[in-house]
Amino acid sequence: MSSILIIVFLPLLAAIIAGFGNRALGNTVAKSITTGALFVSCVLSWPIFLGFLGGTATAEVVQVLTWVRSGTLTFDWALRVDTLTAVMLVVITTVSALVHLYSWGYMDEDPDQPRFFAYLSLFTFAMLMLVTADNLVQMFFGWEGVGLASYLLIGFWFRKPSANAAAIKAFVVNRVGDLGFMLGIFGTYLVFNTVSIPAILEAAPAMSGATIGFLGYRMATMDVLCILLFIGAMGKSAQLGLHTWLPDAMEGPTPVSALIHAATMVTAGVFMVCRLSPMFETAPVALAVVTFIGAATCLFAATVGTTQWDIKRVIAYSTCSQLGYMFFAAGVGAYGVAMFHLFTHAFFKALLFLGAGSVIHAMHHEQDMRYYGALRKEIPLTFWAMLAGTLAITGVGIYWLHAGFAGFHSKDAILEAAWGRGTELGRFAFWMGTIAALLTSFYSWRLMFLTFWGKPRWIESEHIQHAVHAGHDEPEDHNPARQEDSGHDVTHAVPPPEYRGGTGGYHPHESPVSMLVPLGVLTLGAIFAGFVFTDAFVDSETFWAGSIYYNEGLIHELHEVPLLVKLAASIVMLLGLTAAWFAYIKDTSIPEKAADQLGPIYHFFYNKWYFDELYRYVFLKPAFWFGRVFWKAIDMGTIDRFGPNGAAWLVSKGSVAAKRFQTGYLYSYALVMLLGLVAAITWVVF
């Protein structure tokens, strides 16, 4: 199975060629090379996955190169392929290949296309290194590599100040998580004397009762290690507290959001917890933390998602929320279920993002849903794709038939596992998840209704006005000269007084074939991924084949939960749909009234629970303030003043002419050295 070498390194090769070839190669060649490479990787990945599905493949490790040998701390470049990796392989290569293809259309008018495609392929390589890691350090390599690619792609339109700020924010906030990850690796090495994942997982159960000193306290060893590692996962997967970078990351081009900030990179944290699941199972406190953070995030992000106007930000918060589901599923011990949701989510969330991109493309780079409306007839194929995505994320399905869209299978399984776990924390997670599911249904349908139903409100959009006044209605959103003015007024907490609007003479166009094909493929995924793979992901211990901790008792309990629990997700889905229908179709004055009525709560949600403001005053401003104080008051005001400057002052006071000192110091220095040597020689000789 050395095809894994091709799968992983072909995207790197393509990235290097396209990146360095850049303008010399030309757009078409660069795009063909990268896209072709990804399709090859994708085609090679599916047989591996199907091999594990069919039970014919076995796990293996392909050694590539020695990396570091330092005492007993040794790790190599190696590619590990087992069931868990195979699942990630198909997710990454499939979505990445489709996003590459989609970008042909979406980025068509961008002057910097080779660079964009090179970054996309580089990202894919780093992500593949992450999921094939056989030791924690290579996982960290992939972890930081995807961070770099994410930084570069968020800031792809580097002329825009907001994109640059978002890129730096993403990198730095992730580094906060990486601090935990690194400490976790150090601690793991200290305890197990290895960083090899299989060796750690094997030795972990024996350490479950051990204690260790950490920051002066004595703590349960495995809890400390797992919490430290989980902090890394929180950063990458945008969990509560370290989530602030993800919504801002929407500054990047939409295909990037679909690939990195929905389907793959942000799920790396979930992957890490699942990969290390036998280790986490020895750490009850750490698992409680995972469950709690996951449950809290899924609700938090959903509340914010209900109030945002930017179509991409709604989907971003939705991603954050869905990642919370995956984490609490892992926290209660249902790792297979967490991976299942990761798998289905990758398809339907990528679909929603690419669909949103298609809408944005049609609406001349306008992202504010207040200026959408009635697009159902204008861009019907996009509409149907988005509808499939919405049905998938809200979990539409019929329980008695065991048939539904992708999210129906995976989200229901998560809620059932949380309930079935039987602990108070499990119940807490269940309720959080259920309320979040209600909100998910509400904001997803709100998005659909605002975008595709109602009357056109396009005329009020600056982007649309620009398009119309410029005398053409072809989207040319990526013209760099226009990047500066794409920031729009988001201070309006409520939609314009009435949806008087109008088309303003603008005619949205359906996207080109290169964008519609990926939408079509992902639509199939959003419809069938759940139905087809439930048995393998949730119920089959042989499918996982030891690559994750398989909790047979919990899976049994999962199937035995009360009927109402099983129906909970479907019930709240209908409630959310109904509420959204009333508010955005039936009586469109409701949202405004509700916002007025719920004033403080609305503003709290609309302003994302004020996390950004909090961090600005607690971390950012003090960092710069302290920097200035340390520089001016300590370095210059104290050390220099009493050190070298003070010495100079003393010297000049001591009647030695300062001028002589300034010009003569070299000689005096040489003299001191010479005298010293003479003294030395004298000492030794006599």
Binding site: N22, F158, A167, P205, L287, Y665, L666
Partner: protein, 514 residues
């Protein structure tokens, strides 16, 4: 082997230095380039012929001068790597000065070649007084380079440089005299195995510390560095950051640790404490700088703090990490100063705000700058990561607190470097003159590309660099083992839990037995 390669490594630049004094501008440049290139080849030959796993001291040359003072050269793996770093950076420095230096070119090239002689001498010396001469004299060409070819405030900068250095070197010399008297030899390898009385060690250690801490530089004796860097010409900064800052670390690993192990253990917390302060304080200071060189200078102090912390972790990972950090920082910060030099040569300002949007008119430059920025913040795959990771892993075995504080450097480092990069390379082109700057010339490309290759090599396959040093570090670790401090992460094995935390006694589980 019979060929006195170390002597030749000293002779070639020495002859070149003397020749340059009498040559015209153009011939001086070419002479310097040829001399440094020959030395690079000699350095690579040295590396190729160094026998990994062979004798501890190789290429030994010794001739008695008088009264126990001898011209003794010889290298171990640690010295080898630092010599290779020096000879690698020198031709690049000459190239960097090619057009930038227009006055007294012959003297300038001569100063650089003299400096190369002295730097290689420091790492190759096996006699303690020979070491002292090289160690202290190596700074004289640097004073001249800053003082003659430096910026507007060069006198103040070189004065500060001088004052700080003077303080340490006098104390170190006295300590050396005492040691030679006590042990009866000037031979460094012998001294490295000599057991000094622990109470005397304390004083000796402090005397050496005074010198090495300044050279490092450690907080709070670091304030000469930003001024020296800002005033020095580009190549001067490269050598200052690339090699001269390594003298302190080399001093610690060659003298303080092996010669005074007990005293070193006694002062672990002094070193760790100063390192922790340095990482946090200088990183925050770097965040608010307006001057590119000052920013990178402060970042150097933070990186060197990782070196000192790693050295005083008393274990293999810490020592190897510190060594890799020295090599890595030598390459990366040298390259970053070159990157500053490239645009300084075009616009003659180091003000960050005078630039912006350089990705547009200088895409190749932006790519190199990005790469070295990422190496500086320790992205895995670059040398910076291997350095940081090993050092901090070593420190963790001593103290989790110290590791936590030192590791915040990865957050702050990302903050100030990316903020710098954003202001220089991203954004719109605010200034017309900056927007009109042409991309890298072939000469600049030749300067930066080899460093980038080396950084990548050290990041992906550091074994090439670790292997020669392995035996020496192991020897040092063995010598330190008895004095090594107790870590705070003591592991106590308890009764393992019977089941996973989420284990449920399921009926299916019972049935599953069949």
């Amino acid at each position: 082997m019979g060929f006195p390669i170390l002597t030749f490594l000293l002779l070639v630049p020495l002859v070149g230095a003397i020749a340059c004094l009498f040559l015209g501008e153009r011939t001086a440049r070419i002479t310097a380039l040829v001399a440094t290139s020959v030395n690079l080849v000699l350095g690579l030959l040295l590396w190729a012929n160094y026998e990994v796993g062979g004798a501890q001291w190789q290429f030994v040359e010794r001739s008695e001068v008088f009264a126990g003072f001898s011209y003794a050269l010889g290298i171990d793996g640690i010295a080898l790597m630092l010599i290779v770093l020096s000879v690698f950076l020198m031709p690049i420095c000459i190239l960097a000065s090619w057009d930038a230096i227009r006055t007294r070119v012959g003297e300038y090239m001569s100063a650089f070649l003299f400096m190369e002689v002295l730097m290689i001498g420091v790492f190759a010396a096996q006699d303690i007084f020979l070491f002292y001469i090289f160690f202290e004299a190596g700074l004289i060409p640097m004073y001249l380079i800053i003082g003659v070819w430096g910026g507007d405030n060069r006198i103040y900068a070189s004065y500060k440089f001088f004052l700080y250095t003077l303080l340490g070197s006098v104390l170190m010399l006295i300590a050396m005299l005492w040691m030679v008297n006590e042990a009866g030899t000037t031979d460094i390898p012998t001294l490295m195995q000599y057991d000094f009385d622990p109470s005397a060690q304390t004083w000796l250690w402090l005397a050496f510390f005074a010198s090495f801490a300044v050279k490092m530089p450690m907080w709070p004796v670091h304030t000469w560095l930003p001024d020296a860097h800002v005033q020095a010409p580009t190549a001067g900064s490269v050598i200052l950051a690339g090699v001269l800052l390594k003298l302190g670390g080399y001093g610690f690993i060659r003298f303080s640790l092996p010669m005074f192990p007990e005293a070193s253990a006694q002062f672990v917390w002094l070193i760790l404490g100063l390192s922790m302060v340095a990482v946090v304080v200088t990183s925050l200071i770097a965040l608010v700088q307006h001057d590119m060189k000052k920013l990178i200078a402060y970042s150097s102090v933070a990186h060197m703090a990782i070196v000192t912390a790693g050295l005083f972790a008393f274990n293999v990972q810490g020592l190897e990490g510190a060594m890799v950090m020295m090599l890595s920082h030598g390459l990366v910060s040298g390259a970053l100063f070159l990157c500053v030099g490239v645009i300084y040569d075009r616009l003659h300002t180091r003000e960050i705000d005078r630039y912006g949007g350089l990705s547009i008119n200088m895409p190749r430059y932006a790519l190199f700058f990005l790469f070295f920025t990422m190496a500086s913040i320790g992205l895995p795959g670059t040398s910076g990561f291997v350095a940081e990771f090993l050092s901090l892993a070593g420190v963790y075995e001593v103290s989790s607190w110290a590791t936590l504080v030192l590791t915040t450097g990865i957050i702050l480092g990302a903050g100030y470097m990316l903020y710098l990069y954003r202001r220089v390379a991203f954004g719109v082109q605010r200034n017309e003159d900056a927007a009109a700057m042409p991309d890298l010339t072939a000469r600049e490309w030749v300067m930066l590309a080899p460093i980038a290759a080396a950084v990548l090599w050290m990041g992906v396959y550091p074994e090439s660099f670790l292997a020669p040093m392995r035996a020496d570090i192991a020897t040092l670790e063995a010598r330190l083992a008895t004095a090594a401090p107790q870590g705070d992460a003591e592991l106590v094995i308890g009764e393992p839990a019977a089941h996973g935390a989420n284990y449920i006694e399921g009926s299916l589980g019972a049935e599953g037995a069949h």
